[in-house]
């Protein structure tokens, strides 16, 4: 027998990807349905099938898709999985918002290149910079599509943008333009690929996003954070401005500090936001750590980066207990499938 498992056991192994509460309810039924697709009723043929056949890749992928929808649950999911689903959706939106703000900055630079704004330096020309601008605009579309619940559009464009960024990093590496290949590839994995994969959390059971606050966040972030940073850089005060990973660490720290009083109030219902902030802090910290590779020759900037990480760690510690409470044990699902 191949691998000492028969077809039924192979299906059961694939179904271990699903949460326990779901397997308790559906596993026997699913295994029977899978096997019904194979077995013919001829004992000899079925014996060979059971011994040598394996779940198809499509079947396994359908189980993976179901597992993603269940672990990153919608409104009808058990509390723990709903909390994770909402937190991942919030974190993905925040990362897309950051990309969109960057895209908005690209738009301003483009306006400058067309002499619509007089005091900004013109952007560089050429194919790769032009691709960079296109990617920036596309992130704005991805963010707005997610907020407007057009998940398919958001996913397709995000995949194209991620592929374009991959090509950009690859080209830069082959041309010897990367200061730190490790930092560039880490950025692509952490802030392009991972959030795009995590868009699996935006499935049909996911509750719609609160449109107004997220849409307002885009111009608000640009006007309150990006524009002052740009102004500081253009007026010769760039030494006071943190780099982008540092800025993200400080912004997430501020959000944690702002949320901490509610998280400690014991009123309940705050855990999802706390979990979202913990996820964002993890992303910001990883981005900060990997981007320090850019500053290997500058101990001062390494120390600044470590200080930013320390601030982030202290701030996230304030909301972490509340985030842990959001993952209380799974309550039993309603017994709507009882036979009777």
């Amino acid at each position: 027998m191949s691998g000492d498992l028969d077809l039924e056991q192979r299906y059961r192994r694939a179904l271990r990807l699903l949460p326990g509460y779901y397997r308790d309810k559906w596993e026997e039924d699913m295994v029977a349905a899978f096997l019904d697709g194979w077995l013919t009723g001829d004992p000899d043929e079925d014996s060979v099938t059971m011994e040598y056949d394996r779940p198809s890749r499509r079947e396994v992928m359908s189980v993976v898709g179901l597992a993603a929808r269940l672990y990153l649950g919608g409104a009808s999911a058990p509390r723990r999985y709903f909390a994770w689903g909402q937190a991942v959706r919030g974190a993905v939106l925040a990362v897309m918002l950051a990309h969109a703000v960057w895209g908005l900055g690209q738009l301003v630079l483009f306006a400058r290149s067309r002499h619509l704004i007089g005091w900004l330096p013109p952007p560089p020309g050429g194919f790769w910079p032009a691709l960079g601008y296109a990617v920036g605009y596309a992130w704005i579309v991805v963010f707005v599509a997610l907020v407007l619940v057009d998940y398919r559009t958001a996913r397709v464009i995000a995949l194209l943008v991620t592929a374009a960024d991959l090509a950009t990093v690859l080209h830069a590496q082959l041309a010897g333009l990367l200061v730190s290949p490790f930092a560039s590839w880490s950025y692509w994995v952490l802030l392009d690929l991972a959030p795009v994969l995590a868009m699996a959390a935006f499935h049909r059971d996911a509750p719609p996003v609160a449109r107004r606050p997220w849409l307002l966040a885009l111009p608000a972030w640009y006007l309150l954070v990006s524009a002052p940073v740009l102004a500081a850089e253009l007026t010769g005060h760039s030494a006071w401005v943190p780099d982008v990973p540092g800025l993200c660490c400080l912004l997430v720290s501020l959000l944690c500090l702002a949320h901490a009083p509610r998280a400690w109030s014991g009123r309940g219902g705050t855990g999802v936001w706390s979990l979202t902030l913990v996820l964002l802090a993890a992303v910001a910290a990883l981005d900060r750590i990997t981007s320090l590779a850019l500053y290997q020759q500058d101990p001062h900037l390494i120390n600044v980066g470590l200080a930013e990480l320390l601030i982030l760690a202290v701030a996230v510690a304030l909301v972490a207990p509340d985030a842990a409470r959001a993952q209380a044990p799974v309550s039993a699902p309603p017994p709507h499938l009882r036979l009777g």
Binding site: W26, D29, M30, A33
Partner: protein, 110 residues
């Protein structure tokens, strides 16, 4: 109602079916255009049962395994009828706008 949920409810409209029976019926109903994966089917069944549109009917032993059959509830029957009406009226509008109904389309004018 999603297309998959519509097909699953339709597959149960003329009587209870087990999981693989639903998959086969949906393939036939859709003339091969919708091929439900088992993972997708149980996602749909879970949602429909949570919404009270289907319920378990019975279990039967088959080759040492239990097959569970599902049936429409009263709410499921009503929801399916409403969805069918909606889709039928939408289809009528589409056909009219494409000029596929009326004397010209049926050839009466020629």
């Amino acid at each position: 109602m999603t297309g998959q949920a519509f097909f699953v409810l339709t597959a149960l409209a003329d009587g209870p079916r087990h999981g693989y029976g639903i998959v086969s019926e949906v393939t036939e109903l859709s003339q091969g255009r919708v091929k439900l994966k088992i993972g997708s089917l149980y996602g749909v069944l879970d949602r429909l049962s949570a919404d009270g549109l289907i319920e378990p009917d019975r279990e039967e032993a088959h080759d040492g395994r239990l097959r569970r059959y599902y049936r429409l509830t009263g709410d499921g029957r009503r929801a399916l009828a409403e969805e069918a009406d909606l889709r039928a009226s939408t289809a009528r509008v589409v056909r009219t706008r494409l000029g596929l109904t009326g004397p010209e389309a049926t050839g009466a004018a020629g």
